[in-house]
């Protein structure tokens, strides 16, 4: 098996981007990633793109219309769609193109342009009166709170922490300079227990990575982020006895990931994590759901400040999905920000000496999971 590394990273500013086309967004991110890798379009062997449902923008199978902007003419290009987990699934799909030995250098791009449509309508199955994604997750969050004994301020604390982190990230959509726990608590209740400010925004934007093999890394001017392990798992959306708080697919995905990476104590051996947290409570839920901490302990990590940028297990240093949510890109941003950390290119939100980082996304009815571990060291030992 060939080794794969991230050698270039590119992002757009996340916001409502009325002034730029979809073609422009994806090309912007791709061009930035190529510049970071100091490569040109001709150096790319294949392109992999990902995004959430086509109904969000009303463009069907967009690899066809975006191929020109992505320099994919005459090349292989394919498009991944695994609901909210798609950005991470796309990165993993691209990594396998390298690891299989089929291609030397691959461009991967995730994007969404939510302002072109109505995401809540589309996410609700294209029907009016949609409950929205938060409406689907809120009952499971309530179940988590009841089962874990977590106090109500946990979600509020996550909402504030991620927005404060976002102030360090110029690409983040939300820059809420005056965010406080009080403001989150006073914001409208959308889906009990989720306040408006505990929910992700609707963003436009694109994220891109250039991936290459060992030979590509040797020629690359900047530091690589080695892909140490990746894993994906899916389960049914509903069945009697399904654990909706800690889905088995999320547990299996984490176990497969850590095993491949040689990780036996994720909390100690992973330096920082970018976890898909579209609604505040999913931070403690995934800390438990992905075996980073035992059950009923996740919320304590949050309350004790362990997940703050100064904590012992920083989570969502970039501001996370709570600060920018171009859905189809959001999972890729998690993977890409994990890579930024181990390359030492995370700027104001850099964790000093980060060596091993986790990128994570989930989707659907919390029944799709995709995760990867990257490291500055091609063969980290723990």
């Amino acid at each position: 098996m060939e080794r794969c590394a991230v050698i270039g990273i590119g992002q757009t500013k996340y916001a409502k981007r009325h002034e730029i086309t979809m073609d422009g967004l994806v090309r912007w991110a791709a061009k930035n990633a190529l510049e970071d890798a100091q490569l040109d379009w001709k150096d790319i062997d294949a392109v992999v793109i990902g995004k959430a449902p086509d109904a969000l923008e009303g463009v069907m199978m967009p690899e066809l219309s975006l191929a020109d902007a992505l320099g994919a003419i005459g090349k292989p290009i394919h498009r991944v769609h695994t609901a909210g987990s798609v950005g991470a699934s796309t990165a993993i799909s691209a990594a396998t193109l390298i690891e299989s030995g089929m291609y030397d250098t691959v461009l991967t791009v995730g994007y969404e342009k939510q302002s072109d449509g109505n995401a809540t309508w589309a996410l609700g199955g294209g029907r009016s009166g949609s409950q929205g994604a938060g409406g689907s997750f809120a009952p499971w969050i309530r179940k988590y709170i009841m089962g874990s004994g977590a106090p109500p301020e946990v979600g509020i604390k996550v909402a504030v922490k991620d927005r404060l982190n976002a102030l360090r990230n110029p690409n983040a959509h939300l820059h809420l300079y005056d965010i406080t726990e009080e403001k989150v608590r006073e914001s409208p209740m959308l889906w009990d227990p989720l306040h408006f400010l505990e929910s992700c925004p609707s963003s436009d934007g694109a994220a891109a990575m250039v991936l290459s093999n060992k030979a590509g890394v040797e020629k690359s001017p900047n530091k690589p982020a080695w892909v140490i392990a990746h894993a994906k798992r899916t389960e049914f959306t509903q069945f009697p006895g399904r654990d909706t708080v800690k889905p088995q697919a999320g547990v299996d995905c984490a176990e497969a990931l850590y095993k491949k990476a040689g990780i036996t104590n994720p909390r100690k051996q992973i330096d920082c994590a970018e976890i898909y947290v579209p609604f505040s409570w999913y931070e403690p839920m995934w800390l438990e759901g992905h075996l980073i901490t035992p059950e009923k302990e996740g919320w304590k990590m949050t309350l004790e400040g362990a997940t703050e940028i100064t904590g012992d297990f920083p989570v969502n240093m970039s501001g996370g999905v709570l600060s920018s949510n171009p859905i189809g890109a959001s999972g890729m941003i998690r993977c890409l920000e994990a890579a930024n950390q181990v390359r030492g290119t995370a700027g104001e939100y850099q964790i000093d000496g980060a060596r091993v980082a986790l990128g994570h996304a989930y989707g659907g009815a919390a029944n799709y999971f995709a995760m990867w571990i990257v490291s500055s060291d091609p063969d980290p030992t723990f």
């Binding site: 062997d45 086509d54 009303g58 069907m60 799909s93 659907g364």
Partner: protein
Amino acid sequence: MANRQGTEDIAIVAVAQTPSYRAYQETEPLLLMSLTNEILTETGLERNDIDFTIAGSCDYLSGLPFAFVSNVDGFGAWPPVYESHLEMDGAWALFEAIVRLQMGDIDTALVAGSGKSSPGRPREIFALQTNPYYHAPIGLDPISMAGLQANAMLDAGKATEADFAEVVSRSRRDGLKNPFAQVAKDVSVDDLLAEPYHTQPLRKHDLPPISDGASMLLLARGDRARELTDKPVWITGIDHRMESSHPGLRDLTVSASTKIAADNLGIDGGAFDVAELCVRYSPEELLLKEALALTDSVRINPSGGPLCGHPVMATGLTRVCEAARLIRKGEAGTALAHAASGAALQQNLICTMKGDA
């Protein structure tokens, strides 16, 4: 880049497909479930024995975002499975499955493609594949694009309307022997040419039917393939290539991306017993035959091809299934399967295969 799309270690060990239905009244997961069960029964495997599953389908056909999420019900996901999904024809899912198996750490992959076109109006829906700023607002649909392509071929003197009718006459006649065909008929070229135009110069029979359906295959690596079947169909190469979305930037009288893929795979157009081509509009066969340099000894679309049944998102993967089935039956030793996406053959995939000599 060197050609590394060749492989001789990965085989198709089972294939299954539904008939092409004009309107399948049950759900898409049910289409898939019947095929999953067929493949598990044939190979004696349990669901848990399959290492990786990947499917191709399209939300827009059923007008339901996340339609593919329910499809998981059709191929099973408990205990949780290692699985992925492409919003593309299942043939591209086959590509990713082959890539994944090439990594060498897993041995089996289930590949599916499924689609139901009957709930919507495909001609209107597929116009949304075009550039959203320049083309979609004028409703540039695939049938119009196929008409423009046919006209370009006629203008260039590369074909006549009788050539198109020849393709249809042969395909529809071959479809009579295909139990999965939706449209089949013994009809002469003269009778076809007497029909009125639909989208000039195309007549209705130059177009594929509107179909619902699914297809599926199981891949296995090396020794595992030989354990699962005594008739493995070895994948000898796979490649796919894209062209511009701007028709004005393309020469519509050739299939440039098909030729790039064929050249990369080092294909000898005379080396196949059979070619199953994704001929959605009859003129496309002439373009593909030329791009692949297929000689007259190569039997094209013995199944009747997409002109006899076009279950969108499964049409390409079905070509692979049809070709593999002929090899498994001993009616062919080598085969080429082709899949296409987008209007006027914008994106093309080639997969070559052979049986045990």
